[in-house]
């Protein structure tokens, strides 16, 4: 049955997932009465504001950025936890945003999500076997309790747990083991596409390595496609084929992973890379970038990064840059477009005007 479902001829060679001009605004205004009495205006938080990217089958695209940049909102939009304010999400050429809950059901099976917090993502009152079997039962993929249990045992082995672990409750497991359970649940409906929202950021490094290795092995074995959300650039470097950098709800740079890290274009990407503590202890002088992420309710005019950017000029302050192709990928930066920037990681930026 699943073979038949997989053999959708349309867009077989196109990207598995394509997102176009995706946006999600949140109304964070105070209640109407307060607004009327105190004369407050409506406040709209543009968590994601026009993001476009595509992921090829079997590849990993990572979205990186600091907290509040909208990367998790993109993940939640794709899996349907939020409805988009604007834009389309094409999964094998079918726009998910327009589908009803029932029409979505057969497609749902094919994408799953792995969450950040292994202590919150498993229902504490359910046995592990029931947790893993939930997608199977919800979509009616396998009939018969014994067959379901066999499948669960197989999944448990896939993620490095023992079949009798299925009879335990989540609290009997460590954080890393719980994340394995979470992965087993995500795999149980034979998905093609996994959205991973910071899957290792709550884990210790040695356990993080286990989970990252497991995810890479599973990707090879099942030909999975990943959208990987993380703030940890080193992890992103390890897992990704392509990387998108987000800042205040917009994609500022998109490129092949190796290229992005070797020759970052956008000043924000450069800053992020420069901020990573240097484990190689090369003695490289780092330039800590001044300033913090501005209030997303009142983003700066023009390029949102201009108040922190050492290369900002008048155009950057007034005109918002669009994502445009560069020799290495794509970047949304006037300075990159005008070739005003020195080569990455060679020259120190000029001092910030104070």
């Amino acid at each position: 049955m699943s073979e038949a479902a997989r053999a959708v001829p349309a867009a077989a060679n196109g990207p598995l997932l394509a997102v176009r001009d995706l946006a999600r605004y949140f109304d964070v205004s105070r209640p109407l009465l307060n607004r009327l009495i105190e004369g407050d205006r409506r406040q709209i938080l543009k968590a994601v504001d026009g993001v476009s990217f595509a992921i090829a089958r079997g590849q990993t695209l990572s979205l990186v950025g600091e907290s509040g940049c909208g990367k998790s909102t993109v993940a939640r939009l794709i899996v349907g936890l939020y409805t988009p304010t604007r834009g389309t999400i094409d999964f094998e050429g079918v726009d998910l945003a327009g589908l009803s809950r029932t029409a979505l059901a057969p497609i749902r099976r094919r994408f799953q999500m792995i969450f950040q917090d292994p202590y919150a993502s498993l229902n504490p009152r359910w046995r592990v076997a029931d947790i893993i079997a939930e997608p199977i039962r919800a979509h009616g993929l396998i009939a018969g309790a014994d067959a379901v249990r066999l499948r669960v045992d197989e999944l448990l082995r896939h993620v490095g747990l023992a079949p009798n672990d299925g009879d335990k409750y989540p609290h009997e497991f460590s954080g890393g083991q719980r994340q394995r359970i979470s992965i087993a649940r995500a795999l149980s409906s034979n998905p093609d596409f996994l959205v991973c929202d910071e899957p290792t950021s709550a884990l210790d490094v040695s356990v993080q390595a286990q989970i990252l290795n497991l995810m890479k092995a599973l990707q090879r074995e099942f030909g999975l496609t990943y959208l990987f959300i993380s703030h940890n650039l080193a992890v992103v470097y390890y897992v990704s084929d392509r990387v998108g950098v987000m800042y205040l709800g917009r994609l500022v740079e998109l490129a092949e992973a190796k290229t992005l890290f070797a020759r970052p274009q956008h000043p924000y990407t450069r800053m992020l890379l420069d901020a990573i503590p240097d484990l190689e202890m090369s003695g490289r002088a780092r330039i800590p970038v001044a300033g913090e992420v501005p209030n997303p309710l009142a983003p700066p005019t023009g390029c949102a990064f201009h108040p922190r950017c050492p290369w900002a000029n008048e155009r950057c302050r007034s005109e918002r840059p669009e994502l445009k192709a560069t020799p290495t990928g794509a970047a949304a930066c006037h300075a990159v477009e005008e070739r005003r920037l020195p080569d990455a990681r060679v020259v120190a930026p000029p001092a910030l005007p104070s």
Binding site: S206, L272, A275, R286, P288
Partner: protein
């Protein structure tokens, strides 16, 4: 060692043991931890969650939450034993001689008072100054930690600052009385990468200028590499390895440290598979006999399973591993 130990160390911790009595028996969260910190030195304490690194810091400043208690060992600050002091005296040492910076800046600041009031109160408690002098000092401190328009910002409440700025205020608070030692427990964990770099740079700069020693507790090897002079690697309540930071990071000795370093993904290092340490750190109620790491250790042999290794001196540091007993260098 690069810096010869001029006089006695500033802080000496010897055989520290922290216990939590529970109804299912006593849990030993910190077990025989010994180290020292020289004046002006930055000692990194690194380990995974549950390794006992934060509790070690809390034990030194006398902030172990009951029912936990210090069950053994001694802590000496500047030649004076401080682990058995009554609460009142310990309170005076906290702040005056030991400053603290915690992970979540919100819990270190009282939301009901302006930051100025909190700074001035702390300064007046520990130093013999008039309120006017204290306020002037508070403004200077805020400028030092990089808060612009400090004269105006001093009268703001904690919630009016961003996370990074709040952590700067907490650092200013820790520096109020010019302490000789600062215990920083995961000071950058709650912050974004770019802010993290700012705070690390600030902490380094200030401690150099004020001549304060730092015990930097973190799970992030990168932060340690950037900041520390020496590093202690903790595992299951014990120190696995301690030594100069360059040695520990570049040439780790203990199998746990070797695994830990291998499991950190690094930009520019192209590996198909990260080194991984199988299993997880044991729970406190199930620490194996012998070396606590032996069930996960690829090099474990009989002695590791039966006998607990004490810290053994190697070139520049110490490592608690039988592979290094009697001058052997990692060979069985």
């Amino acid at each position: 060692m690069t810096s010869p130990r001029a006089n006695r160390p500033l802080l000496e911790v010897d055989g520290l043991r922290v216990e939590f009595p529970t109804r299912r028996g006593t849990l030993v969260a910190v077990d025989g931890v010994s180290f020292h910190i020289d004046p002006g030195e930055v000692l990194g304490v690194v380990g995974e969650s549950g390794a006992g690194k934060s509790l070690t810091g809390a034990a030194i400043i006398g902030l172990i939450e009951p029912p936990g208690r210090i069950a053994g060992g001694r802590v000496t600050l500047d030649g004076r034993r401080i682990d058995d002091l009554p609460y009142e005296e310990m309170r005076r040492i906290r702040g005056r001689q030991i400053g603290a910076v915690f992970q979540d800046p919100l819990t270190s600041l009282n939301p009901l008072y302006t930051i100025g009031r909190q700074l001035v109160e702390t300064i007046c408690t520990h130093l013999d100054v008039t309120p006017q002098q204290a306020r002037a000092r508070a403004i200077t401190l805020l400028q030092e930690v990089g808060i612009t328009a400090a004269e105006r910002r001093i009268d703001h409440y904690p919630h009016q600052f961003s996370g990074g700025m709040r952590q700067r205020v907490v650092i200013a608070l820790a520096l109020c009385a010019n302490p000789r030692l600062i215990i920083a427990d995961e000071p950058t964990t709650a912050l974004d990468v770019s802010i993290q770099a700012q705070i690390i740079a600030l902490l380094k700069k200030l401690c150099r200028e004020h001549g304060a020693a730092v015990m930097l507790v973190t799970h992030d090897m990168g932060v340690i590499a950037e900041t520390a002079d020496r590093v202690a690697v903790m595992y299951a309540g014990r120190i696995a390895e301690i030594g100069p930071v360059r040695d520990v990071i570049k040439r780790p000795k203990h199998p746990y440290t070797i695994g830990l370093m291998g499991s950190i993904p690094t930009i520019g290092r192209n590996v198909e598979r990260l080194t991984q340490i199988d299993g997880a750190m044991p729970r406190l109620d199930a620490i194996p006999p012998g070396c606590a790491f032996n069930p996960r250790c690829p090099k474990a042999f009989d002695r590791c399973r039966g006998e607990r290794p004490e810290a053994m001196a190697i070139e520049h540091g110490q490592v608690a591993c039988w592979l290094y007993a009697n001058g052997r260098m990692g060979e069985r």
